[in-house]
Symmetry: C2
Subunit: 202 residues, 2 copies
């Protein structure tokens, strides 16, 4: 977990866990519009106040619950690791975990719900973006900038557009009919990184 | 409109229009899970049977309503036009319309709803994919294959991955916080096409 949104009280990690798990389940089942702090508290077996003491809004709770799942499923490299690694090795080393996460039903369901609420209920995307996506984009930008300086990417590459192309392709692919299994996702990611120029051919 | 899903009856285009408009509004407002044929009929001022006579399911109706909006907003080149045009000219000629469509609130709302329902309610994506997205992907594949043969794309480019990168980037970009306006979308698309190698630099 990269962020704790508590209000300066001693925290019981078991309670946190129960609330995050309940929030995750309800968000996947009902989306942002269909879930409430009250339902989360009930499912977690705690009082509403116990939830509000930890998270100020259901958007913050949902964003934290999503991140809690995503973090638990793979090791994200730190910015320091990104800076001292070759982009090629970094991508090779994380390929299996990335493929497994992207091909999981839970990831697909979360992506659908996050994107699905982005226009009707923009506060979730805004919160998740600011606290969790932006730091990850900064790490990706550092990696891609290294590749650009090493001549693997054209000098005038717009890195924001490139990150959208990479993340967007994965997001779009996993929501298409006939979603990929882990092996297909592995092949897909490798091909994607190759086409961008980050992995060598064959 | 590329498809008519009627059952061999004389059709009143005004009734079709009213039903499609009502379906579009309800789909954007409530998503697939929150809309019903009954509500569409009521909003359109027709009987349920009138709707069912034209569309066998709410997924077919929603898919047709989405396409009806998308088609009305820009001229999509025919496969024959794609085959006889230079990819560069085709992209230049459609840039303004593409940017206007992608930056519109209605498009963003539709994309969010379609993706948002893709895991919880996969029948809509399956229907929309088969009837409307696949034919468009075939046209895009023909265009990209031409570019590949002309040496603008590397010979081992996986065109399905490339299409996902292009469409995925746009889909992802328009659902991020601070969505682009038309001018920014125009710049974005141009940069995207350039980075792929379909438009010349500068």
């Amino acid at each position: 977990m990269t962020q704790q949104r508590g209000r300066g009280r001693p925290r019981d990690p078991e309670v946190d866990r129960a609330i995050l798990q309940a929030a995750l389940e309800l968000f996947i089942e009902r989306g942002m519009e269909g879930m409430s702090i009250e339902q989360v508290a009930k499912l977690a077996g705690v009082g509403k106040v116990t939830v509000y003491r930890r998270w100020a809004s259901k958007e913050e709770l949902a964003a934290h619950a999503i991140e809690w799942m995503v973090e638990s499923r793979r090791d994200w490299p730190s910015n320091a690791e990104v800076e001292r690694s070759e982009p090629e090795h970094l991508l090779e080393n994380t390929l299996d975990e990335s493929a497994e996460l992207a091909a999981s039903h839970e990831f697909r369901a979360l992506v659908a719900r996050i994107l699905g609420s982005s226009v009707s209920h923009p506060a979730l995307m805004a919160t998740y973006w600011k606290h969790y996506i932006l730091p990850r984009r900064e790490a990706a930008t550092a990696m891609l900038d290294q590749a650009r300086q090493a001549g693997r990417l054209p000098p005038d590459t717009d890195l924001d557009v490139l990150i959208d192309m990479m993340a967007g392709a994965v997001i779009y692919r996993v929501l298409q009919p006939d979603p990929p299994d882990r092996a297909e996702m592995r092949r897909y990611l490798r091909q994607l990184y190759r086409q961008i120029g980050l992995l060598p051919d064959n």
